[in-house]
Amino acid sequence: MAYYRRGSSADAMARGMGWFSLGFGAAELVAGRGIARWLGMEQHTGLIRAYGVREITAGVGLLAMGDPKPWMWARVAGDVLDIATLATGLNDDNPRRRNVELALGAVAVATALDVLGSGMLHREEEEALTPPHDYSDRSGLPRAPDAMRGSAKDAPIPDELRTPKILQFHPIGMG
């Protein structure tokens, strides 16, 4: 089973990218035409909306599907697709070429964060390969647990904490 640790800095980064994916994916889906116009690439409106679905899928994967590593790498692959798509808008005929350059810069930053986050997750897994601490000798009890079972059944428990007889599960006469 793949290792990951909820609450670690790598996990926090993965979840951060997950939320970003959800937000950005929703924006691509809802405002795909506006984004395409801003880039001067109206012919790619459908593609941008499809990329929105891809982003949302990655976001859900990162936030809810356990091990985030495959989803981080899926984001990296998506970043490559984004760069390839944006590169087609870098021609001199595009009056919005400057916007495409800005978008490429933003995707480059996101790609760097995705690669960094993936690396952190893998390093965390490697560190975790060291065997866990073994506390199997820490019972806190003077004898084996089975021998200690019920040793405190005489404990002074107030009546108001007792279960009403009708709600007790053991057969009448036991206990």
Binding site: L63, H133, D134, S136, S139, P142, L167, P171, G175
Partner: protein, 390 residues
């Protein structure tokens, strides 16, 4: 003196602060010899509990030596006596204290008006646990002022180490109460969610109180190994289905008693409700993540009992109360009435029936406290329980 001081989210520092002094004739000053970081301190560290202010001194699990006693506490305490200080401050005179409900003492919360507004009626004052419970300075410090000290203490006889008795101030009676209020019967299966320090104490308490079977649920391997050492059957929720395993282990009937030793920061693997909770928590629309409560309601045997020692701070959502009502479940919960249990538990420690020091994995100086908060929160280095030596 030196103390661990809250400065904001994940920002606790070992600062130099003014020494405490007597403020009331029932006060005492205790020189702290040992204190611990409690799992519920992490809710403050992560800033999920409202009511903290910069400069607040942390800590509610501590013990030490009495160095100063107010005039009205002298009949009960003497300078030089060794005491564990319970985290719930109690007056001993109000209606609730007379009933043994010390955790809802009506007089010890000096910010009663605020608590009345928030909870409807005030609960007890607590050490180092927000201004909603009095804003009292905590015990992760060299010295601490103990209000209502003539009541709020457990005297420790000689011959017992700090490590053996320190947890009488919180996690041992908390785990014990969690099990005791289930009224465990010899035929009962008791399922315990969370194998942190309170969970470990709960597991052993349930065993000693005679449960037929104790099942411990977590995903941290070292915590599961410690739970197994205490006699529990373990379920690693990252590797297997909790619902399926619990049904297997109970002939399809479900555990009769379920205990939530996790509280408001539940982690779950790939569940829709945990994603929902995280989203709402991030948007500040929900304060607590209720995955364990939902799962307990679902798996518990009808007419069973749910016990909640885990700390919750405010609002939860998507709570299947209809399921709970229709199954006729009994809920038992609350902060621990520490002194209700401590005489009996101290006897059990003295008799050797249990040694709570088994749970300690790290012992460091107070100045290393801030980094140990992170280690404990992130479950690094096999950390289960940290003891600090001021």
């Amino acid at each position: 003196m030196r103390a661990l001081v809250w400065h904001g989210t994940a920002d606790i520092r070992c600062d130099t602060v003014p020494d405490p002094g007597l403020e009331h004739p029932r006060d005492a000053i205790v020189k702290v010899t040992s204190c611990a970081i409690c799992g519920s301190d992490l809710h403050l560290y992560d800033h999920f509990m409202p009511g903290m202010e910069k400069g607040d001194i942390m800590g509610h699990e501590f013990m030490g030596e009495v160095v100063e006693v107010g005039s009205e506490a002298k009949s009960a305490l003497k300078v030089g006596e060794r005491v564990v200080v319970p985290f719930t401050i109690w007056c001993g005179d109000c209606d609730q204290c007379k009933r043994g409900n010390y955790s809802v003492c009506e007089r010890s919360n000096r910010n009663k008006a605020t608590a009345d507004k928030l909870f409807g009626h005030t609960t007890a004052g607590l050490f180092g646990y927000t201004h909603l419970t009095g804003g009292y300075a905590g015990g992760q410090a060299e010295y601490v002022r103990v209000p209502f000290a003539d009541r709020t203490h457990v005297k420790i006889p000689s011959g017992l180490s700090d490590e053996q008795v320190l947890f009488l101030g919180d996690i041992f009676p908390t785990g014990w109460q969690a099990a005791a209020q289930c009224d465990i019967q010899p035929t009962d299966t008791v399922a315990v969610w969370g194998c942190g320090p309170v969970g470990q104490m709960t597991i052993r308490s349930a065993l000693l109180l005679g449960a037929k079977q104790v099942i411990a649920i977590d995903r941290v391997p070292e915590r599961l190994s410690m739970a197994k050492a205490g006699g529990a059957v373990t379920i690693n929720f990252a590797e297997e289905s909790v619902v399926e395993r619990l049904n297997e282990l109970t002939d399809g009937k479900g555990p009769e008693k379920c205990i939530d030793a996790v509280g408001m920061e539940a982690h779950a693997t790939a569940t829709l409700d945990s994603l929902y909770d995280r989203a709402k928590q991030a948007l500040m629309l929900e304060s607590d993540r209720a995955h364990v409560l939902r799962e307990m309601i679902y798996v518990c045997r009808p007419a069973g009992t749910l016990s909640v020692p885990g700390v919750y701070g405010g609002l939860i959502d998507k709570f299947p109360f209809g399921m709970s009502m229709n199954k006729g479940l009994t809920w038992r919960m609350g902060q621990t009435n520490v002194n209700r249990w401590t005489d009996d538990l101290l006897n059990r420690i003295q008799e050797g029936q249990i040694d709570p020091s088994f749970v300690i994995t790290h012992t460091v100086g107070l100045d290393q406290g801030p980094e140990m908060y992170k280690t404990f929160r992130d479950k690094q280095d096999g950390c289960i329980k940290v003891v600090l030596k001021p």
